[in-house]
């Protein structure tokens, strides 16, 4: 029994932290998030060299062959820095391919991801809302010339910044994922800003796109469920780091800022709120770590543990984001000051891969069906 990280994982954390401290201060985050691609291509190549892009890819496909517990270390640190890059999207894309694709496809794509040449994203749902299987309604047109997709997928992460998409659709009552190249004619990528500019979101529009048999993979509900759950864990891992940043920045502010002759951190109105943040972060951290462990080590537990983690994190971080700004007083809500970037991230994180309502409902359903 060892509910902690190995020495190798701790080393990885130090490495990631150093990389982000050196390359991606919050000033740099602000620069990158305003660029047309929303990420830094030089840094992306360095991440490939460091092995982070192939982290969860099998060595058979030129990856490092580690798992989601290791990945959580990277995601936590990226969350701490609000690092803008299609990293989580690509890892979820990679995880999905690994679950559903055939050998030749894996061989064609996974090594490219590890080398930093391929980035990908999932385009699963048709309406803004819950990551629920009923929310996949795109139907393939079955014609004499073949299968075609006509429609759109909104709220696709890093839309326009990646070169492959796994798009969910239905045909004759079955569910499929099809791998589409961003260069496909008929595929249009647009992106529109959300309040969190460090997280790109956009729409894929699909204009009469032909589905090749080699690029489509049948998936059952359980597999799809797993994809959503892994996504929830991934976002929740970023939320740990981001929430810890809020706590650290606000604690520092409370130690330094004096009012009425005392550091404001002396007043229980401030210090107790910070203690409550600590309690919540510690707690969803435990839930996220455990959920990450179940992804490979205890798959039947994933559905529950992912929901517990994402539900707790969604409520807690949303409050932490608001209170972090509030405890900073007026300076906290200026564009110039960084704390507000974390408030925006808290709302983005809550809305993606299921908010607390969605996951709590999933938890109680499971409890009642036992």
């Amino acid at each position: 029994m060892n509910f902690g990280f190995t020495q190798e994982q701790e080393l990885l954390r130090v490495q990631v932290r150093r990389f982000l401290d050196d390359n991606c201060t919050l000033a740099e985050v602000r620069r990158i998030m305003e660029t047309s691609q929303g990420y830094d291509q030089v840094q992306w190549r360095r991440m490939a060299d460091l092995g982070w892009l192939g982290l969860i890819i099998d060595t058979e496909f030129d990856g490092v062959g580690l798992n989601w517990v290791d990945l959580v270390v990277i995601l936590e640190e990226m969350g701490r820095s609000l690092y803008p890059a299609p990293y989580l999207s690509t890892m979820l894309f990679c995880s999905a391919l690994n679950d559903v694709a055939d050998g030749p496809t894996k061989k064609a794509i996974l090594p490219g991801i590890a080398r930093g040449e391929i980035k990908g994203s999932l385009a699963l749902f048709d309406q803004p809302g819950d990551p629920h299987i009923d929310n996949i309604s795109l139907e393939a047109d079955d014609t004499s010339d073949g299968l075609f997709l006509q429609g759109s997928k909104p709220f696709v992460h890093d839309c326009g910044s990646v070169n492959y998409y796994l798009v969910a659709y239905r045909q004759a009552g079955s569910l499929y994922l099809v791998l589409l190249d961003a260069d496909d004619e008929g595929l249009k990528q647009s992106h529109s800003p959300t309040m969190d500019l460090t997280k790109r979101t956009g729409s894929l529009s699909l204009d009469n796109i032909e589905i090749s048999n080699a690029a489509r993979f049948a998936v059952d509900e359980k597999q799809l469920q797993r994809l959503f759950d892994v996504g929830a864990v991934g976002i929740a891992a970023e939320m740990i780091g981001a929430a810890e940043s809020v706590l650290a920045m606000t604690t520092k502010y409370a130690q330094d800022r004096t009012q009425f002759g005392h550091a404001i951190g002396k007043y229980q109105g401030v210090k107790h709120r910070l203690a409550e943040m600590y309690v919540d972060i510690e707690s969803f951290k435990s839930l996220v770590y455990y959920a990450a462990w179940t992804i490979t080590e205890s798959q039947e537990e994933l559905a529950r543990s992912a929901s517990l983690a994402k539900a707790y994190a969604s409520d807690a971080f949303a409050t932490i984001g608001i209170d972090g700004v509030q405890l900073h007083g007026a300076i906290g809500f200026t564009q110039e000051y960084d704390i507000q970037l974390f408030l925006k991230r808290s709302k983005w994180s809550r809305a993606n891969y299921g908010n607390a309502d969605f996951h709590y409902e999933k938890i109680i359903k499971q409890r009642l069906s036992q």
Partner: protein, 388 residues
């Protein structure tokens, strides 16, 4: 207990209604130049500065008539009675109470005509809620004061021509008796040595500014009240709290929007409005807003009866702070990914509005004194608990 109005009050209400019927198009139908004629018309009715004495050009309205005017105006979503918001709310009453005859003649008519904007300079960097700790300095030089220092979080400063500001003329750097030695000045923002640097908030708006004063000369005649007596001028100005009627109407309007939003949103195959949790949240908002309305009327009654009012306005300030944070956040949560969109993504209910709303609360929540400060005020002044 009696929620009826006197015949003369009812007459006044009818007068307001009739005026609005004749002069106020529905909210969607107001033309671009509507505001010009509107302001002239309400100015003619003496409804601008309605609570001010008629001797200075105000309306001389009674407390109840003010309430009726506000109720009717906000019920019809009428535009404000004048655009010089800070002048009408804070500066004008201060000048009326403490100003010289010359100051009244010089400033009050312009405020009533909304000729230009005023702003009010209290906060400074490193001062925060402890307003009396201000350090912006003014020293006497002949018939002038010479100001050096800075003011921050000055609302509307990017658009204002004049500032009502507090400076320190004595007691520099002391923590004891810090309320002494503060002086109130009225300063023309076009004076040499003033630099206004707008501050962008997290919703992308530039309503606040930091103002820098570098050897800014202000003639003695622009001092409001006695030298060193600025704290009293401010306290009386801050005490001139407006009733919360306008705010309550605004919150009810927001509640309607929120109810519509919930009624039109679906989650997981279920209408959002069918969730008992969401229903309860909306109803709880309603109870708080109605409590604010009734608290306001109860305190108003005490005011009319001449009973001493302590710090009861803090009660509604706390409610409002909570509601401003919670309602916007609840809307954004309900909208899911769509709620995050600043613009674009057609066919999404309420896009943009709620995203901005959920980032704009600090103006109210922090601007009006943080909730922690309001709780201290209640605990110390009303419950007689020890100071921190």
């Amino acid at each position: 207990m009696d929620f009826e109005y006197t015949p003369s009050e009812e007459n006044f209400r009818q007068e307001v209604r009739q005026f609005l019927d004749e002069n106020l198009p529905a909210a969607g139908n107001r033309s671009a130049d509507f505001m010009d004629t509107w302001l002239n018309k309400v100015r003619d009715k003496r409804w601008v500065g309605f609570s001010w004495p008629t001797s200075v050009g105000g309306g001389g309205g009674s407390i109840m008539e003010q309430v009726i005017l506000k109720e009717e105006m906000s019920a019809r979503k009428a535009p404000p009675l004048g655009t010089c918001m800070m002048g009408l709310a804070w500066v004008g009453p201060g000048i009326i109470q403490y100003g010289t005859e010359q100051q009244k003649q010089r400033f009050i008519p312009d405020i009533l005509d909304s000729k230009y904007h005023w702003c009010t300079g209290y906060s400074e960097p490193n001062v925060g809620s402890d307003l009396a700790a201000l350090q912006c300095k003014a020293s006497r030089d002949g018939d002038d004061y010479v100001i050096n220092g800075t003011k921050i979080w000055t609302s509307l400063a990017p658009f204002a021509s004049w500032i009502f500001m507090l400076v320190r003329t004595e007691n520099f750097g002391k923590t004891e008796n810090k309320h002494d030695g503060i002086t109130a000045l009225l300063v023309d923002l076009s004076t040499q040595g003033i630099e206004i640097k707008p501050i962008e908030n997290m919703a992308g708006q530039k309503v606040f500014a930091q103002i820098f004063f570098d050897n800014v000369r202000v003639p003695m005649e622009n001092r409001l009240g006695d030298e060193g007596n600025g704290w009293a001028v401010t306290i009386s100005s801050l005490a001139n709290e407006r009733s919360s009627i306008g705010e309550v109407t605004g919150l009810y309007t927001k509640l309607e929007k929120l109810t519509d939003l919930l009624s039109n949103s679906r989650w997981n195959g279920q209408a959002a409005i069918d969730s008992k949790k969401n229903r309860r949240t909306l109803a709880r908002f309603e109870a708080k807003i109605e409590a604010m309305r009734l608290n306001g009327l109860r305190y108003l009654t005490q005011q009319i009866k001449g009973e001493p009012l302590s710090s009861e306005t803090s009660v509604n300030k706390l409610h409002r702070a909570e509601l401003e944070v919670e309602m916007g956040d609840f809307a954004v949560e309900t909208l899911g990914q769509a709620g995050l969109q600043l613009r674009g993504q057609e066919a999404v209910v309420g896009t943009g509005y709620w995203a901005a709303d959920s980032l704009n609360w600090p103006t109210v929540v922090i601007g009006g004194g943080t909730p922690n400060i309001q709780k201290n005020i209640i605990a110390e002044r009303i419950l007689n608990l020890p100071k921190d």
